[in-house]
Symmetry: C2
Subunit: 477 residues, 2 copies
């Protein structure tokens, strides 16, 4: 019974130790495993299936905006990585280098891509000649490598899965429009699909992407009050185009540089789902990305007719992702497993239910149990999944709002960091010195300058000089 | 008009130079591009979209047989790769080695996976304890690296995309069953989806996978008479399990080794589609995997109502993958482009057609043109796509059969290799010396020992000693 124990053993409660709770959930819901390659993780079926559902829905939304998928090599020659000054400074210290091919030393080192701006630029320089070749709206799904020192499952690992979009446009306006469009695709996806509310905004210069003119971000708040950057979209202007010589002949017959963007989302989203929705019984998955949406648990399954009825219910519910747990574990174990794995609905059916032509549905998020007639089961399941998806977002938003405070001066700011885990809204003068000071003294970082600005006061929360912008601050993963 | 010329320039005819024809098609249909990383290719949108369709359909078929997807790290520590003797001998000479992480030299070299048997074994050794943990039927979609010296687009490149299935079973029988089951999934997929007929069989010991007890293969015949190994499925017996210590406690409370399989298909399938179906006008795509199945070409599109009608037709055909070419190129260019890209059906609509409530459909494979009433367009398109899919398979099978000869003695064999490009069926004694001799003297290799055996004669085609089995031989890619 080794398998069963593993799942039902109590996990650390999130109030006692959030980090340990997270690790427990990740392991006991069998989302990932450690590998013998330090800092690299194994996506087990339950973890990878969530990623597949994220991919499917995100890819569909991309394609609706005209995105085409491509695949670039995983290697970048050192000379190519070095072409754009800021970019190489940002990434060179944390890449893995291939120096041998087969039995021979390579003439030039190749890094395993940490991101593929340089490869796309090298490609676009040949592909783009005329205004007729624009825009290019390309994306790839792949894995990237960053040689991180500290790693945590899904949140930070040496290899992770992501998508990276790379576009080239004729004008600065069009590039800016695409940068914001993709940020909004990300934000809508998080809210509508992952049930995670996000703040949309712009990164400060200190926090922006290496080589970008502007980085936009969506920031989500985890259950412990820490922020998680959940997706970014960068406008490169013509900086990369100049470094790589990507020019096109415009309608007026003049040679012009293209304007570029890139944008990415990663498997870290799985970490966000865990930390926003999970509870002390384990994972809670939003129905839209749950690999199994409904689990049927037969009660007294050895009694005649119970398993048959369970399979019949599975057929009735075939429009959903449904599974029958017909293993020889006890119903109690099965319930705990279903809860640990975050399966949205559990349908229990036993001899007495069959007699009464009914079943019991339990909601994973609220624990609520409802007895329904079998005749209304399909409709009720559809309604409950929809309600659950909606209420999970509402609860997360309520939590986020309850954990967002305002600081008008530095004392309030420091108190908030100490005593109210969450976002802190505060005004900022725009100088990096204040940003550095706040980070050093409080460990809170600027998360973003939200698009939706509020005039909280006239002065910087740190130095007291005239304020330029409101910033969301917070401790971050 | 640089864009247009590029596509409509004549390509080398396949009768003149098949290799050059292939390269021309790959480039002019814009399937791939060369990258600045030697031996690594770029999948452009038209090429990657074919792979996406292959993935979607193959993944669906996998899951129907109980396969679950996972994702393993892309790196393998050198000591792990070395654990199984035959395996490391097969792969070590052709892997890329990572020796630096960030600014530091690694304590142990990591190779970029050429295949992931060792990683799965290392994982299974911890995951599998009891008979209740079996079977494991896992698969991953990823890219792998093999440091090849000679490369050709899709057929052989240093990095390629594939899926690799890795399973673990309680018994030898179950492993053998899974090995054959997956080979049949591959074969059915090739025939039903890619319209490519294949020979199913077993590899000789000389040609089997490094570390396998038995390798099964599907072999397809290209238009030039060369064979292409299109998918393989390996039974490892308990060899890897013993090397890695993968044991489970069985129902009888005894510790036993698991039995394992692996199976893979790659982006080389795109090369097979090109070389089986293409013609001197370019690519011909089977409807089931064509990224665009129907292209609408407006005639005299500046005339009032023509573009509107084209879009209306697109809406009518929205159950298919349909596109309107409303660019300012001439209808002639558009036709050539549609042919080069292998789009199965072209629907032409001009002012006169609109007046007559009709459109003209052209089939890419036969060139046949049909005038149909707009009212019957949807139904006709559905029928034509189905017919085309079926007839493409039939034509490929006819070609394959016409290029399969029988050799009863070594003279006949040598003549066949010289004069009849294609498969040669001939008897074999089972000794590797004959296989080596045939390869050395004729360049033909044993493709497989087909499941469907015929008793062509009693003696080996090479040495004249008693024959054990019939073999398909051929020159191969």
């Amino acid at each position: 019974m080794a398998n069963e124990k593993k799942l039902v053993e109590a996990i650390t409660s999130m109030e006692d130790d959030f980090a340990q709770w997270y690790t427990d959930v990740v392991k006991k819901a069998e989302l990932m495993g450690y590998s013998s390659v330090k800092g690299c993780m194994i996506f087990k079926p339950a973890g990878y299936a969530i990623w597949e559902n994220i991919q499917k829905e995100l890819d569909r939304r991309f394609k609706e905006t005209g995105v085409e998928n491509v695949y670039m090599p995983m290697f970048i020659p050192e000379s190519l990585l070095e072409r754009e000054k800021d970019h190489v400074e940002g990434f060179a210290p944390e890449v893995a280098w291939v120096t041998m091919g087969g039995l021979n030393k390579l003439q030039e080192r190749l890094c395993v891509r940490p991101t593929s701006e340089t490869l796309f630029c090298d490609f676009y320089k040949d592909e783009i000649q005329s205004y007729r070749d624009l825009p290019k709206i390309y994306n790839q799904w792949c894995s990237v490598v960053r040689w991180e020192k500290e790693t945590r499952p899904f949140l930070r690992s040496r290899e992770f899965l992501w998508q990276e979009g790379h576009t080239a446009h004729a004008t600065a306006e069009e590039a800016e429009e695409r940068t914001q469009q993709m940020l909004n695709v990300y934000a809508d996806f998080c809210e509508e699909v992952l049930a995670i509310p996000v703040v949309r905004g712009r990164k400060t210069d200190k926090e922006k992407f290496a080589g970008a003119e502007a980085t936009y971000t969506i920031e989500a708040l985890m259950h412990d009050g820490k922020a998680l950057q959940s997706g970014t979209s960068h406008n490169f202007g013509d900086g990369f185009a100049k470094a790589f010589g990507i020019q096109y002949t415009d309608r007026d017959n003049k040679l012009k540089y293209v304007h570029q963007t890139s944008w990415g989302m990663t498997t870290r989203l799985i970490g966000a789902v865990i930390m926003v929705h999970g509870d002390n019984s384990g994972l809670v998955l939003p129905p839209m990305i749950a690999p199994v949406q409904v689990e049927v648990v037969p009660i007294m399954q050895k009694k005649e007719g119970v398993l048959e009825k369970s399979y019949e219910i599975r057929s009735m519910l075939s429009n959903f992702r449904v599974k029958v747990d017909d293993s020889d574990k006890s119903p109690g174990w099965k319930r705990s497993e279903q809860e640990m794995r975050g399966i949205p609905l559990r349908v229990e059916i036993g001899p007495k239910d069959i007699e009464a032509n009914q079943a019991i549905i339990a909601r994973r998020d609220t624990g609520e149990k409802i007895t329904v007639s079998i005749d209304e089961l399909t409709e009720t399941v559809a309604q409950l999944l929809e309600t659950m998806q909606k209420e999970m977002l509402e609860r997360a938003r309520t939590h986020r709002d309850a954990h967002t405070s305002v600081a008008l001066n530095y004392e309030e700011f420091k108190t908030a960091v100490e005593e109210k885990p969450g976002f802190i809204k505060a005004m900022w003068c725009g100088n990096q010195e204040c940003e550095d000071k706040i980070k050093e003294e409080t460990t809170a970082t600027s998360r973003c300058m939200p698009f939706h600005q509020e005039q909280l006061s006239d002065v910087c929360v740190c130095c007291g000089k005239p304020a330029k912008t409101m910033v969301y601050w917070g401790k971050a993963y």
